[in-house]
Symmetry: C2
Subunit: 149 residues, 2 copies
DNA sequence: TGAAAACATTTGTTTAAACGAATATCTTCA
DNA sequence: TGAAGATATTCGTTTAAACAAATGTTTTCA
């Protein structure tokens, strides 16, 4: 359904504003969809995001700051987010002996297993809502890049 | 800057996944930008969104449920959001005498004035980041519509 | 009519987000 | 060397989000 119908608004200040409203709407739509999938695993999107970043570096340890730098949203409280990940046994944490200011993170085995368990469900969800061709998806991504300037 | 560089990831499961990561990233980018603008006025994006919806119907009263239906994100706690708007004097609230279950909302004069004061700043911000042509913005919006199916 | 179902919003409670200030460590350079 | 500044993370506190259950009202239909 088009954004005009969804938010019952036909006039927009500009095409750009319409696109941004659609961006916000579509983001929340995606979050709502993903939440259904994430909930049974007791994990939030942000936590999942951090686990995936750590998996990308496994078996290396990664400083908290490096994780923060590449997160999709810059959670200002990564400390307590990591507390929760550690409590669940999904990550390991230790201070860097070379630079004792830094805290190093590494995904633990249960964390890797969790991601593996979730992956097929995510794939399936993506497949079910595959309304864009590969070219269109690339184009969408390019336009978002361009929007940010 | 392209999303690949921003999140330091070159391989993606699919173009769709890349587009969705970009959607999430760009949404947060936008929220961060808007927050700077909104903060001096003591208003959040959600609250602003509600005020704009009410302005679209002014001087009519609108049921809370109707507002919820067209919100960009379906805040489950519109009651307390409206409490805050009312405390600041931006909206009026009364129960519908024809259907006493419903609560009706209307934007108040200070609310209208607030929006008028903020509008030029928003326009300016939009103008400054006008990296998309009108056609590109339309295309972006269409692709987002299509993504949702 | 009047009991059950549907509806619209509110409230209670747990949990997490937001923000600034604080702590601890390292680097620089007079 | 050692004081000032920069860096990396953590903590304290206020505020809001999330979710389920509850309240009050209207509609339906036996």
């Amino acid at each position: 359904m088009k954004i005009e119908e969804l938010i019952k608004q036909t006039k927009f200040v500009s095409p750009l504003q319409k696109a941004i409203l659609n961006l916000i709407y579509t983001y929340h739509w995606h979050v709502d969809q993903a939440a259904v999938l994430f909930k049974p695993f007791g994990i939030t999107m942000q936590q999942f995001n951090v686990l995936r970043i750590l998996r990308g570096k496994h078996p290396e340890f990664v400083p908290v700051g490096d994780v923060k730098a590449v997160m999709l949203d810059k959670n200002p409280d990564l400390t307590r987010l990591c507390d929760r990940l550690q409590e669940k046994g999904w990550i390991e944490r230790e201070t860097n002996s070379c630079n004792r200011r830094q805290v190093l993170l590494r995904i633990a085995k249960p964390g890797l297993e969790l991601l593996e368990k979730m992956e097929p469900l995510l794939q399936q969800q993506a497949a079910e809502m595959n309304h864009l061709s590969a070219e269109e998806a690339e184009l969408l991504s390019d336009l978002l890049d361009k929007l940010r300037g």
